[in-house]
Structure formats: structure tokens, C-alpha cells
Subunit: 258 residues, 3 copies
């Protein structure tokens, strides 16, 4: 039973995503398709990577994840296939995958199924779907691709820190307006060393890390380390991004007591 997930910027109002699903079902009748989302902001590679990174481990092993965001911004519209941690990944060589995995996957293949991809529709529906169908039928990656070592590497924004402070940036804003920052709990604790601190969120101070949103009252600011292991700043039962005008890329300063 094949399980194929789709993460794209194709939207839900047109026929592109449906064409991809129809092509899958034509080749694999009864396949289970999960739309992770088709609402990645067009060309927004880092959002696609963040989404995939946070969801793929939830799927059962053997799942095949197609990611099609900014697929034409790849040299020669190259399509990669990666097998790692029991999952398969298919997507463009535009740096997206370098933001997904904590450890570089051992084997990355360039798909060699088709010589002349002519359009975005072609790449996703034809090359990516065809690759997924081969994988679902048990074909090895080596049969549809060749080992590819020099895939594009992007560098994720990193927090800037010293012993006295950390400056960290919003990397993702979720459906509730909660802001997720590029700060891992481990780095925070390594710098904090148990000291008191203050997070300055557009002049609103937060002085504790909570365990759940409900540790503060409704309408109050709350900071916590979310399921992703990253710092999240929210308003309990409110939309902090809207209320404080926070956008992706905005930063906050955390200062630690002397």
C-alpha cells in the first residue's frame, strides 16, 4: 500500500495539484495520497523545507514525499531522489533538502528518467510522479537515477549569540499566528546556564519559558519550546503575529542576567 505525501506551492484553487494526484492514481490505483499542503508561498523554499522537516517523521516508514516548490530554480531542472531514515524524498535540486535533514543523507540520486523537462507541470507531474511510482513499485533509486554528490546547499539562518545575549529570528508563522524562531532549546540552555533572562518581543518582555500556552492567562504572551524543539512565542488564545506585526525574518533579543 503506497503512501505518497505532497508538499507544493500549487495552491488548492486550480487544477495543478489535482493533475498530480490524478497521475499518481492512474499509475497506482488505490494509493493513499496525503496533501501536506499546496499553500507554500510560491518559490518559498525555506518554508517548504521547514514544513517537510516537521512532518515527515510522523508518516509511516516507506512513505514517499514529493516536494515541488520552485522546481524550475534548479540547474537543468534537476530532480533529486533521496532515501534516508526509512523515507523517500523527491524534489528539486534547489537547496530545499539541505534544510530538511539534521545529517546529510548518505545517498542522493539525480533522477534520469526524462531528458528534456519543458515546464513546471512536466517536472512535477511527469518526472516526480513517475519517480514516485517506480519507488512505490519497488524499483531501486540506482535504477532511475545516478549518485549525485554536489547537490545545492543552503544555509539556514542561525541565531547570533554571545555569553550575554541571543538574537534569534522568526522562521515560521503558523495558522494561529504563533511565531517559531531559529533557536534550539539546547543552544538556549547552553547560553542561559540557568540564569534569569528577558526576551524583548517588540518591547513586551517575557521572563519565563512555559510548558504550555495555558500556563499564562488568555491574551498574555507566552514563550515555550514547541514540538519542533524550537523557541515559539505566542499569545494564549490570540494571534501574536497579527497583534504585534511580527513577520518571518523579524528578530528578538534575549538578554541574560550578569
Amino acid at each position: 500500500m503506497s503512501l505518497i505525501s505532497l508538499t507544493t506551492d500549487m495552491g488548492n484553487s486550480g487544477f495543478y495539484a489535482a493533475s498530480v494526484k490524478a497521475a499518481i492514481l492512474g499509475a497506482l490505483p488505490g494509493a493513499t495520497i496525503v496533501d501536506v499542503t499546496h499553500s507554500i508561498r510560491p518559490f518559498h523554499v525555506s518554508a517548504a523545507a521547514f514544513t517537510l522537516k516537521n512532518v515527515y517523521k510522523q508518516f509511516p516508514e516507506g512513505s514517499i514525499h514529493i516536494v515541488s516548490v520552485d522546481a524550475l530554480n534548479s540547474p537543468h531542472s534537476r530532480v533529486l531522489a533521496i532515501q534516508t531514515e526509512g523515507h523517500y524524498f523527491i524534489g528539486p535540486d534547489n537547496g530545499l533538502f539541505s534544510l530538511v535533514f539534521a545529517h546529510p543523507p548518505a545517498e542522493v540520486y539525480e533522477i534520469i528518467l526524462a531528458p528534456d523537462p519543458a515546464s513546471l507541470a512536466f517536472i512535477t507531474k511527469d518526472i516526480m510522479v513517475k519517480s514516485a511510482v517506480h519507488i512505490a513499485k519497488g524499483v531501486n533509486l540506482a535504477e532511475i537515477g545516478r549518485i549525485y554528490k554536489n547537490y545545492i546547499q543552503l544555509t539556514a539562518w542561525q541565531p547570533i549569540y554571545n555569553d550575554a545575549s541571543i538574537r534569534t529570528s522568526v522562521v515560521y508563522i503558523d495558522e494561529y499566528g504563533n511565531c517559531i524562531f531559529n533557536l534550539e532549546k539546547t543552544l538556549f540552555e547552553q547560553v542561559a546556564k540557568g540564569r534569569k533572562f528577558e526576551i524583548d518581543v517588540k518591547r513586551n518582555p517575557i521572563e519565563i519559558i512555559s510548558k504550555t500556552y495555558n500556563d499564562v492567562g488568555g491574551g498574555e504572551l507566552v514563550a515555550l519550546f514547541a514540538g519542533s524543539g524550537l523557541l515559539e512565542i505566542a499569545i494564549n488564545r490570540g494571534n501574536i503575529a497579527e497583534l504585534l506585526g511580527l513577520k518571518e525574518g523579524d528578530s528578538v533579543l534575549i538578554t541574560f542576567e550578569d
Copy 2:
């Protein structure tokens, strides 16, 4: 064959809803999942209840309905499981279910699967999905929960009426902008006693109840009792909510002839 429906406020653009679906498919390969909607306005319990109330009977018996809206606004993040009318329901103890059923369900269980829910993600993906998986596998509610009598009751807005008039409020605005009111056909007829009447919709009068939108011309106001049995006021082939600025909670006055 398990059928699980999802009604949440998680949105379609992030990875939360996909994580829930992945967790279901990991435990129940080949399960049928129907996204009722992930676009309930965040924390909007009454909209979730209205949606569920109008859709669950359409599903085949034995279906399992997960509802996750404002799940943290439940004492100790309590999760309920209810079996009634041949369907199963899983959701928070925040009053939502008290707005769904015409008759209080006989047996309501509090799920006792996990001692310390830490986050919204945990509650929906872990406790609710785990409960659904148990139910799908034939486990009795009594094995995963304990009878719970004091679940939170909310009171739905009721129309205000006397022999001469009814004041009724918008409880739902659909995708077409049609406005659905908290007035059952039976109450309308009981007060009307066959008399002439006038519905005052922001100074636009309606004097008849139609059977279909097309009983009036394009662009004209129409009142009818929709599939839900509730009064609906619409513009044939138009968007009345937008044109007249009607919002949830707005009311209209129906006056009856002496």
C-alpha cells in the same frame, strides 16, 4: 474499513493537519480520512459545533469524528469520547459537544490514555488520534476512558419571541455568503400560525418563505428553510453577507400581522 473525519482550526497551509493524518495512517494503513474542514476560525467552538452537527449524519454509521478546536480550553486538557446515534466523537471538554446533539448523549467518556498532555499538538495527534485508533480497532470506550457526567455545557443563542414577533440571529455564514439563523422551522410556524409576516433584513423586507433560491430573480433577497431546518436568508446568485454587511451575531426582526 475505518472512516475518520477531521474538523479542526489547524488550517491547510501548515503541517499540523498533515501530522494528524500521518499519525492516523501510521496506525491504520488504508484508513479513509475525510477533512471536513481545517478552517474553523481559531478557538471558534460554536462554528465547529455547527459544522459537525450539520455533517455527521451524512457519514456512514461507525464513522469516527475527531473535532479539535480550542482543545486547550478544557479543564486539564480533558478529551472526551462519545458514542451516540451509531457514530463516535472525540474532542475537547470545552462545551463543543453540548451544541452538537439535540438530545444529550447517554454515555460520555473522559479519555484516560495519557497523564500529562503538554501541548495542542500532543492532545490532537496523540490523545485524540490514539483514541480513534483504539475505537477503529474495536476497543470499547470503557477501556480507554471513564464515564464522565459533568462535561461542560454551553447554551446556544436562542431566538427571542412573543406572539407578535421573533428576533433571530445569524449563527453561520456559508461560502456563498448565505446567512443561517438560529430559528427552527417548527418555532417559526408555531408563532406564525399561518399569518402574514415581514422579515426586516437591514431595512429590506421579505414577506414569503421560498422553497428554493430560484423562486426569486437573480440578485433578489430570498428566505427559506435550508437542509439544516434553520432559517436561511440569501441573495439568489449573490453574497448577502457582503452586500448587506451581515455578520455572525447580527439579528433580524420578524413581525407578524395582528
Copy 3:
């Protein structure tokens, strides 16, 4: 294994589309349902037709396509069923299907399952879904309908042209803001006869037809014939509809060298 696709204007935030899916799954447990889209602009028959036209051939033969857009704008709420090119189509007699097929389908049936459709919900969920279920179970169209010859015909906008120029209009704007025009490649080539030309896009000239978006630099205008065979004008990695304010119905003039 039944495969049913849905193309509607019901939206994703309410319970209408879920009711339709629930009704299908109640009658056909395990059926595969593909949401082509529920986001057709309400009553926008031509957008529904364009969407269906571009997607149905991607589905495997035997697929059943339910299209419910402006279903009440059909005389007596007539529902049609069409079998053509190995696919089944169910939708209203409002002219929609006349815009989908290049050649008029040989046999068009009027569904005679129910005498008195009372509401939009009734027509889609009851008549259309019931028809789809019959078809999925192998019932012939002749058993649930009668031959119907006078279905409503709409005329698609056509480009206006002479030997020196073509005026063509936007018929569709996709999720990326790319604009698709009502100009087939064959007509373009027939008029062009290999001559130089200039497409005047709101005073921005385009003088070549590209093969892919990436034939021009990021942020530059590009014209190509897309998968649909129609002229598409885009900005590589940009949103031309937003940037130049192009809307459906807007036209551009293509002038050819003497």
C-alpha cells in the same frame, strides 16, 4: 475501485463539500475521492469548465467527474450525465459542459432520478452523488437518464484576428498569477507565418515565445504555450497578474511585422 473527482464552488471551510464526500463514502465504502477544487468562484461556470477541461484527461479511464457550479441556474435544475473519451461527467445543464469538450459528446443524458430537487445541497449531494454511485456500480446511463439533445450551449470568448494582428483575452489566472489566454498555438502560428511579432502586455513588449519560464531572467516577462496549448504570459518567479493588474477578460494585442 471507483474514482470520483469533485469540482465545485462549495469552498473548503464549511460542511457542504464534506457532506458530498460523506454521502459518496456511505454508498461506496473505500471509494477514492479527489478534490479537484472546491474553490471555483461561486457561479463562475467558465472557470469550472476550464479547470475540468485541463484536468480530466489526467485521470484514469472510468473516472467519474462531478462538477457542481451554479447548479441551480439550470432549467428545472436539470442534471446531465455524459460518457465520453472513457470518462463520466455529472453536472448541471447550465452550459458548463459545452465549454469542456473539443467535440460535442455523442450521448448526453438527463438524469431522471428524482422529481423535485429542492435545494443546491439536494442536487449535488442527492442527485449527482446518486448518479455517480449508480455509474460506479456499473449501471448504464440509459437506466438513470434519458437522451437529452438540447443541452445549453455557451460560446467561449474567441480571439479577434486578421492578417496583421490578434487580440486575445485572459481566460484564467493560475495560483502563481500566470495569465492564460484564449489563443491556441495553432491559430497563433497560422497568423504569424513565421513573422516577427510583438505582444503588448500593458505597454510591456514581448517579442519571442519561450519554451520554459527560465528562458528569461528572474523578474522578466515571458510568453509561452503551456501544457493546455494556450498562450500563457508570466513573470519568471513573479506574479504578473498582481504586478500589472491583469484580470480575467483583459486583452493584449499581438501585432505582426508587415
